[in-house]
């Protein structure tokens, strides 16, 4: 399945490891929350990138400072209409300061990509051959944003303020 990371199609070199499967010695491995909670000490020993797969019913707050141990956190949209992962993403980015890869999995459709991106996702499993093309197109559809998130986009209010300040400077105020 195509993985879009930072806007381009990338090889997914992460391996999702089942709870009862042997963890590979090295390489990028994604484990479930359950496994993390049960085998934390052991997993912390592992000297290779670790990823976490969170169900959309999980509370990211329970991870606390542990978020920084993960190079990848994968969140899930079981149906595109189930929007819980948007809040999980914002909590991870904005309350817990998570800076690793935040991946959208599940039913990830073109018409929700911009919202996901705004909520803090930077990687997307998009099940279509033209994934990169539609990702780029989707992100360009809107350029005005009313509300702040952790993304880099200026809100309309910021733009207005910037404009006012420029005009005030021009008027010598």
């Amino acid at each position: 399945m195509p993985l879009i990371k930072n806007g381009i199609e990338t090889t997914d070199d992460w391996i999702l490891v089942a709870d009862d499967a042997e963890l590979p010695a090295d390489g990028k491995a994604v484990v479930s929350l359950k496994r993390w909670q049960e085998q934390k000490a052991q997993l912390e020993q592992r000297n290779a990138p670790l990823g976490l797969s969170l169900p959309n019913t999980a509370a990211p707050e329970e991870l606390n400072g542990d978020v920084h141990r993960f190079a990848l956190i994968a969140l899930n949209f079981p149906k595109f209409s189930d929007g819980r992962a948007y809040s999980q993403a914002r909590v991870l980015r904005e309350h817990l300061g998570y800076q690793g890869e935040l991946r959208a999995t599940g039913q990830v459709l073109r018409d929700q990509l911009l919202y996901m991106h705004r909520a803090g996702f930077d990687a997307f499993e998009i099940n279509r051959p033209d994934a990169e093309k539609v990702f780029k197109a989707a992100l360009q559809e809107m350029t005005v944003f009313y509300q702040p998130t952790s993304d880099d986009r200026a809100t309309a209010q910021n733009v207005r303020l910037g404009l006012q300040q420029r005009l005030a400077r021009k008027a010598g105020l």
Binding site: A119, Y146, A156
Partner: protein, 552 residues
Amino acid sequence: MYRYDPLDQQLIDERLAQFRGQVERRVSGELSEDEFKPLRLQNGLYLQLHAYMLRVAIPYGTLASHQLRGLARVASRYDRGWGHFTTRQNIQFNWIKLEDAPEALAVLAEVQMHAIQTSGNCIRNTTTDQYAGVAADEIEDPRVWCEIIRQWSTFHPEFAFLPRKFKIAVTGSPHDRAAVRVHDIGLRMLKNDAGETGFEVFVGGGLGRSPFIGKTIRSFLPKQHLLSYLEAILRVYNRYGRRDNLYKARIKILVHETGIEKIREDVEAEWALIKDGALKLPQDVIDGITAQFAPPAYADLPAAPPAALLEGLRQDRDFAHWHRQNVVKHRQAGYAIVNISLKEEGKPPGDITADQLAAVADLAERYSFGEARVTHEQNLVLPHVAQADLPVLWRALKAQGLATPNIGLVSDIIACPGMDYCALANTRSIPIAQAIALRFKNWQRAQDIGELKIKISGCINACGHHHVGHIGILGVDKAGEEFFQITIGGSASDDAALGDLIGPALNEQDALHAIDTLVETYLGLRQEGERFLDTYRRVGLAPFKEKVYAAH
């Protein structure tokens, strides 16, 4: 009134282009109906009993003349020449083609209108008092806050796929004309002991299958924290609202099942993390939006009624009736608030023709500084009319069938479109509404009865707000026949209450007879100055129930 700047305009233009693309992808088959449906709903396009229906947003019920003309154009060009105002201050067009929807939205975008988030599991239109900015009893203009909420909630990326729809209402007056206590979030402006203005925040109100009056989650919220607090509530709801059962997915169920104390705890914990962040409203932003709602350039008029008005009242009894019933005191000396009744005898309540829309546009321009309002009771308002203009305005309204003198009276009925239009309905509601209005057409009788708010819903979704009618009527299907369940004692105001069922459902004839009986019972029992609602509150259900069901 809020004026769009180029950014606001760009946003709706971009949204229109996005929707056009989505329609094209649907027609080509790239998008399935399952994938397209939430997208078209978030652009207000429903599939109804006869056709697609477009619900156009009228943010906090405020309209400028050029916008009324835009609505008239859509009604004429893309619909069958009329529209219907709803209990959320929006307007619906019932015969829109999917292939025309982008064009109709383009006509609207030219007048700064749209159908964004008028459906779907997202934050809907924020509604308010139709007398905002002009009511004599107002603490502050709630539209400032509605506009702030509108911007924050439009395309909010986190809250586009909530468990269910989300409705917010704001009142700036202690007399709540916005039904805030039956909304998912209700905001009531008030002053604290230090004289500062803030909000009492209610959460978990709502009608429908499981009606609830909202509970106070915070008794005083300072203004600058409005958005961060709303965000905290929405985040808790998005995370914990039920998604297993469509009928248990509103925040009212979450509040009911979890308890207001735990919800408050969760919300306040979330709020503590965000209240001093980017959502905190700087005073200059508040001031900037407030300035957009500055009063129009009122003339310096004497408070006393001018000769032209007094003469009119003396000469014309019909004008006097209309003045008494439809005209309300204004906070500015010499001005009046004019209610335009869309409850003309023989017409479906809340409907308006393209010609009437154009006429109201002209009258608003001439007599109301170019501004009109929509009420959640499906009428219109001209908010700034000089008293001397009332007679000539009335004549013009009369010529358009817009001067029925029945605001707040028994024939000023709220009715959902019902089974004549809506695929969800169990019964029709328009015919029974018209039949009731006809029974009480005599003005003297209606006056004598006084304030009586009848609200009719064709199904349990309660779009007609029947739970909070002084008399509420709910259509039910009994073995394929239309039956009506009657409640009494509801109120949508600051004394919010849900009506009590008087007894088993009745067929249409019996229901009409029951309404007569309820009115007669009230007239027989009332004391000086009591409205129907007051008498009911004093004597209780029993006398009414007995009389109605005596014959059964």
